[in-house]
Subunit: 322 residues, 2 copies
């Protein structure tokens, strides 16, 4: 057994995962992003509780941010107060077990490739639609992490120069147009414009415009609200355009799209596929990648991180290799 | 010895290349794009002439367009009248030698990685700036060609939705902003606007606006014309932005930039590097790829194709592997 831990902006989820990718037990705690020591303490607590009932060989940790190629150090994490944090060393001392750090999107992609929707796919691009866009690639059964371990930041490809401001310091990044945050922002703008079509959305938040999030809109869309469905269609159009851009560059056999926004299901997938087909360069003269929703849901990152901790070997050159 | 053949939109270049990447002899002929049989005949003629003086083991052919993963069939070529053309089979019969087909940008990237600027680089992205943008990746000593063999079309990533029309059927593709064609178009627009700053450029073409090309502007810039230098700076800004996008996605250790537009040298490289640094996501928290001009010049594609014909093994999964 291995433990997979998924550290997000608001919570830490930990699970015992067997070698078939099945989650046998799971625990959650809120994160204390401002204090790395507190996050470490939370991890120790979770491993200790889960380890009481299962024999645990190793621990895999997936977190938003950039890990160095050896899987030992957090170079940078946008939501957590980690800068050049030697997290693995600290944790191996505290846990007395091998620990592997990985980017959360890499963990999710690995989970989907090993146990989920993309089993057997030789060229996988995985997109996680949450507050932003997480990205990862599995090529020939290897996580492709780039020369310095920071590949896969598809969400920060500029697709609209001079467009919406992004936290990364640029303007017009893809994730400002195709993410849960983008969906919430567009819905709030619609509501602030006093548009009558935003009625249903406003009712859902008792008129509190600031409480409108992507999740609220997604839920309204599932209940049939026309404006919410349109807002998700707009996100799908940007998503499809960005996937076509990735297909031009990477030519994968499959895109797997996961993350919270996928709760919208076909309401998101259909416009995404339309926009992808319309924008794919060379359409008609080439095969096109499939676009599929993730199979493992929110557990993908945890499952992937656990599996990676069991078997990951890091090549000098930059690939995380099984 | 192997022969490398570079088939472009206007000419076929063939060279005898030794296993150190040295071109021992070279010949050129105009292409007859409208007739695949005529191009085959030209190739046979070139190989026969070069083969008279050197022992030739194999022939590698680089051409604009998409080859299937086995290196046997041209799926699509924008400048040549080939559609699903079994070029290798035809040529092996005619030449009595093993033949390997490869995309011209892949050939150039392989040449630069094996014998040129990028020797030893584990994550190379190669950009060829000609009429459009050619792209290719060498990862861990393998050409990465994607699932269907059509990866690397970076020039057709949309970076300006609704922008300039592209021959590929989309609008706003990167190559409409950072290529020789883009440079020519911008200069012609400046001249048509009767701008006094376009005087030098107009003088170079005797007032014939339609004769203004990227090459004309590049030459004027090298002679010190301020407007031409500005036009190249604009191209560099778009080039740097696009390279930053690629760095976000692929995180290479090095970009090698080749092709005709590189005649501009530092006039292009300096603004490119400025824009890259300004647009790189996560700047300050990550190492940045080097941006270098190609070393092998116009011969890179020929040298790479020759070398690939000697030793290429194609994996089922999609990588061209040594």
């Amino acid at each position: 057994m291995a433990i997979g831990i998924d550290i997000g902006g608001t919570k830490v989820a930990a699970g015992v995962v067997d070698d078939q990718g099945t989650v046998l037990a799971e625990l959650r705690r809120p994160t204390h992003g401002s204090d790395p020591r507190a996050v470490e303490a939370t991890i120790v607590e979770l491993v200790s509780e889960l380890g009481a009932d299962y024999p645990i060989g190793s621990v895999g940790i997936g977190a938003a941010g950039w890990m160095d190629l050896s899987g030992g150090t957090v170079l940078f994490s946008p939501h957590l107060a980690w800068r050049n944090e030697p997290l693995r060393q600290n944790l191996e001392r505290l846990l007395n077990r091998p620990v592997m750090l990985t980017n959360d999107a890499d963990g999710a992609a690995w989970g989907e490739w090993k146990f989920g929707k993309a089993r057997g796919e030789s060229r996988l691009v995985c997109i996680t639609l949450g507050t932003g866009i997480g990205g990862a690639m599995v090529m020939d059964g290897r996580l492709e992490r780039g020369r310095f371990g920071v590949a896969g930041e598809f969400g920060h490809q500029v697709i609209m120069p001079g467009g919406h401001r992004c936290e990364c310091g640029n303007r017009g990044c893809w994730e400002q147009y195709a993410s849960g945050n983008a969906l919430g922002r567009e819905a709030r703008e619609l509501a602030r414009a006093n548009s009558p079509v935003a009625q249903e959305i406003l009712r859902a938040v008792d008129g509190d415009i600031d409480a409108i999030t992507g999740a609220v809109v997604t839920e309204r869309a599932r209940q049939g609200d026309a404006a919410s469905i349109e807002l998700i269609e707009d996100i799908g159009s940007w998503l499809g355009l960005g996937l076509a851009n990735l297909a031009a560059a990477l030519d994968p056999g499959m895109f797997v799209v996961g993350g919270g926004l996928c709760e919208a299901g076909e309401l998101l997938l259909a416009p995404t596929q339309r926009a992808f087909k319309r924008n794919l360069t060379g359409r008609g003269f080439r095969p096109a990648a499939a676009i599929e929703l993730a199979e493992l849901g929110a557990a993908a990152g945890m499952i992937g991180a656990a599996d990676l901790s069991r078997s990951l070997r890091i090549s000098e050159a930059g690939g995380a290799q099984r």
